[in-house]
């Protein structure tokens, strides 16, 4: 008996293809794959170490651990919705954390709230500059933000003379990273606020709708009368603000203002989280809920593996494999649908 492999011929003529069972399986697998793996991870770790992993305290721990990554990744998601890669967010985070501690420690600004708000505005301006270079200079965001990021790194190193700010940071600022609202750590509160705001922004507002349209097909958006260029400023501005907020929470959490290396840890993970998110629920589309799930997945894996006493290199490797699977699933599905 000859085994005939059933290869479905791509039909050229019809605009619509019949969806086969395998297509539907891949569809479901890629939509819910990351959610299922999140649940499975939680179940496995809970089963293996119920006493340590499956506690309220540990879950709050996980949230606390991922909150900074989450805030940065959520901002990045807004940029990615428009197809803009923001590589400046690492140095933006470093700059945010360092400048605020410097202002407060040296007494340039005495109110922590004012310092934080001012820093967010500075970040917004820098992000908009990114956007101007991209939209009006015609430079790809990848290169533009890489360049701006390098400049920012240089600026922080120059201002700080490579010295870490260790003392003189007021408690009013440290609350941002170390305080609690009830049992919930302050960074988690910030994460929740950012997630809700950006969710509403992207899903419910006119600007968010236009951003998705531009990300989906910029030419269609332009021909529909949308002023496409200015949206790059908004997207990269938001991304920069979130990065700076993340950096400030790091500084508040540790109680020091480091002039280098703060944001770098989060750069690749935030891209990983956003891309895992883009393969979740709505394949091929970056969205806030997806990114939240991506962030949680990374957090659970890191936390679980640490609790199990698995060495760090495994954490990196496992995270990489999950990212590959997720992105592969999404791109496979997108390719199938074309």
């Amino acid at each position: 008996m000859t085994s005939t492999a059933s290869v479905s011929e791509p039909q050229v003529a019809g605009p619509r293809r019949q969806t086969s069972a395998s297509d539907r399986l891949i569809d479901v697998a890629s939509r819910y794959g990351t959610i299922v793996s999140l649940v499975v991870c939680v179940l496995i770790f809970s089963a293996l170490r119920p006493d340590v992993f499956a506690t309220t305290q540990n879950f709050l721990n996980i949230l606390n651990q991922v909150s900074i990554l989450g805030i940065i990744a959520l901002g990045l998601t807004v940029a990615l919705v428009q197809g803009l890669f923001d590589l400046s967010l690492a140095s933006m985070a470093t700059l945010g954390g360092f400048m605020v501690t410097k202002w407060l420690a040296e007494g340039t600004i005495s109110s922590p709230v004012l310092a934080v708000v001012l820093m967010l505005l500075v970040a917004l301006v820098i992000g908009c500059l990114n956007g101007i270079v991209v939209a009006y200079g015609g430079v790809s965001a990848f290169i533009a933000t890489l360049a701006v990021g390098s400049i920012l790194t240089g600026v922080v190193l120059g201002i700080s003379k490579s010295a870490t700010i260790l003392s003189g940071i007021p408690d009013g600022f440290l609350v941002m990273g170390q305080g609690k609202v009830g049992p919930v750590p302050a960074p988690v509160v910030f994460l929740a606020i950012v997630a809700v705001l950006l969710y509403v922004f992207l899903e419910q507002t006119q600007v968010g709708r236009h951003m998705y349209a531009i990300g989906g097909n910029a030419e269609t958006a332009r021909l529909s009368g949308i002023a496409v260029k200015r949206y790059a400023l908004i997207a990269l501005g938001i991304s920069a603000m979130c990065a700076a907020l993340g950096g400030m929470i790091v500084a508040a959490n540790l109680g020091v203002g480091r002039p280098q290396g703060v944001g770098d840890t989060y750069l690749l993970d935030s891209f990983a989280a956003a891309f895992i998110g883009a393969s979740t629920l709505r394949p091929g589309r970056f969205h806030i809920i997806g990114t939240v799930i991506g962030v949680l997945l990374i957090g659970v894996i890191n936390n679980g593996l640490s609790i199990m006493g698995v060495e760090t290199f495994w954490q990196y490797a496992v995270r990489g494999m999950i990212l590959l699977l997720a992105v592969f699933g999404a791109s496979f599905l997108v390719a199938r649908r074309r």
Binding site: P15, R16, V200, Q204, T205, Q206, V207, R209, H210, Y212, A213, G216, N217, E219, T220, A221, R222, L223, S224, G225, I226, A227, G284, R285, R337
Partner: protein, 516 residues
């Protein structure tokens, strides 16, 4: 037109025949693209191949250059039957095609382009012999009259005329004896066209045969020895070019009066007020175009490709730079971008639905409201989208358009071509546009949907809008439009309406037929 011209058809191949196609038939599903077509090209001649869009020119060229294979019929080179099964084989036989925009890679040097097919020579087995390659290319450039051109220059830095000649040099590099020029003059200035023709004649004197495809009939008489006209996949005739003049050639191209299908458009409602006034529109091709369109009217703008109709749409929509005045409902509007055009009340149904008309991953609802998001926001600060209202309004409009979709939340990619087009039209209904630009709205939709789109164009006009309509299929103008402006050479060659609005009269005018 009184003198009928007898086609001087060649019966047998004469000595000196380079390429001969006999009884060529090419069937596509449901359509015969070539119907017993005969064609021959002699050594050292420039032979025009003419016909309107869809007459079968491209199919014939593809068959000769090995892109497609014929259903039946033969191709002979030097009197020997050959099997042109693929483009490589065609090149081996000495047949090269130079396309409209030249088949050159802009980022590579002249040498790399010219020797792309033939290969750069090698030195010591692995290294490219650049010296030898440049020397060879310099010789080839000399032959096409570009002796002074540095072969190391990037093609992107060349002018249109130089690119065209470099493409010819590339053909010569692979020892082409038959060079097919597919509308090579579209991007050229008149002086450059003359230079090109000079070089073509010189190369023809060396024995190379040219097949010259163009829409510009004036050029045909300037450079061609013989003329072959095709219509509906068939040979109309082959003539010595001095046997025809401009007007009789147009008559051969147009053919006898076609009977219009029974669903031809019969009289619309009486037009209302002037909605759109265009004065003195001047751009790359257009030279001082003025016209107006009234509410309730479908106005066709017809021209040969690249002769103005496309530019009318693009300049009205702010997609290209043009000077002139655009007045909408009595208000003078400055339109420099699509954004301003939309604000002025113009809506575009673009030529390429998927690349320009839709966001494929978004839902029907989101696509439909893309130009009118402003009317669905809750307040001027937060600007939350009111989805419930969106759903109601989109539902109303799509009911009117008779849209067939599984739901308004379905991704627009899952819809058929015709329904996708309705979503684009619905977008402008929601925006309450006053002027609709329908730029070949029936491209790539099936026959049934075409009829539906014609009806929609009428409906838009009957609802009080002014509709500007373009198409590459001339019979559509007769079916949909109240009147048709035919452009030739960037100016209105004539306006047709009622019984005069026929395919033949549109073609006659667009080819610049002087007398009637």
């Amino acid at each position: 037109m009184t003198n009928t011209v007898e086609p001087g058809r060649e019966v047998a191949s004469r000595p000196g025949t380079l390429l001969q196609v006999k009884g060529a038939v090419k069937d596509y599903p449901g359509q015969r693209a070539l119907d017993h077509m005969d064609f021959d090209l002699r050594v050292g001649e420039v032979h025009a191949l003419l016909g309107e869009n869809g007459a079968g020119k491209s199919t014939l060229i593809k068959a000769v250059s090995g892109v497609i294979s014929l259903t039946s019929g033969t191709v002979e080179m030097d009197g020997v039957e050959v099997d042109v099964r693929n483009p490589q084989r065609a090149q081996g036989l000495g047949v090269s095609v130079v396309h409209q925009h030249g088949n050159l890679v802009a980022d590579l040097s002249v040498t790399e382009n010219v020797l792309m097919v033939d290969g750069l020579g090698r030195r010591a087995g692995v290294l490219v012999d650049w010296k030898g390659a440049h020397r060879r290319v310099r010789d080839l450039l000399d032959r096409v009259g570009l002796g002074g051109l540095d072969p190391r220059r990037e093609v992107s830095t060349l002018g249109a005329h130089e690119s065209a000649m470099v493409a010819v040099a590339k053909a010569l590099a692979s020892n082409a004896r038959v060079i097919i020029l597919d509308e090579p003059t579209t991007a050229l200035q008149p002086a450059e066209v003359d230079t090109l023709f000079g070089q073509m004649r010189r190369l023809a004197a060396e024995g190379i045969g040219f097949v010259f495809v163009t829409h510009r009939l004036g050029e045909v008489f300037k450079v061609c020895d013989r003329i072959t006209v095709m219509r509906d996949g068939r040979l109309v005739g082959t003539w010595q070019s001095d046997e025809l003049d401009h007007d009789s050639l147009v008559d051969q191209l147009v053919g006898p009066e076609k009977s219009i299908a029974q669903d031809a458009f019969v009289g619309g409602s009486t037009p209302g007020d002037v909605v759109l006034e265009v004065r003195d529109l001047t751009g790359d091709v257009l030279r001082g175009l003025s016209f107006e369109a009234r509410s309730g009217e479908v106005v066709g703008v017809a021209s040969l490709p690249g002769e103005g109709a496309g530019e009318v749409v693009e300049s009205l929509y702010g997609m290209c730079r043009a000077s002139g005045e655009i007045v909408i409902e009595g208000r003078r509007r400055r339109i420099r971008s699509p954004e301003q055009a939309v604000a002025a009340g113009i809506g575009l149904v673009p030529r390429d639905r998927l690349a320009q008309g839709l966001v494929a991953d978004m839902s029907v609802r989101e696509n439909a409201t893309l130009a009118s998001t402003r009317s669905f926001v809750s307040d001027p600060v937060l600007r939350l989208m009111r989805r419930g209202r969106e759903r109601i309004r989109v539902g109303e409009v799509m009911d009117r358009l008779n849209l067939k979709a599984s739901s308004l939340e379905a991704e627009v990619r899952t819809l058929s071509g015709g329904n996708q087009q309705k979503v684009v039209i619905g977008r402008w209904l929601l925006r309450r546009s006053k002027v609709y630009l329908l730029d070949s709205p029936t491209a790539a939709v099936d026959v049934h949907t075409k009829a539906e789109i014609y009806a929609l164009a009428r409906q838009l006009a009957d609802d009080g809008a002014a509709v500007i309509f373009t198409s590459t299929e001339l019979e559509e103008f007769a079916r949909v439009c109240d009147r048709v402006l035919v452009l030739h050479d960037g100016m209105v060659a004539g306006e047709l309406s009622g019984d005069d609005n026929t395919v033949n009269s549109i073609m006659r005018l667009s080819f610049g037929r002087k007398s009637d």
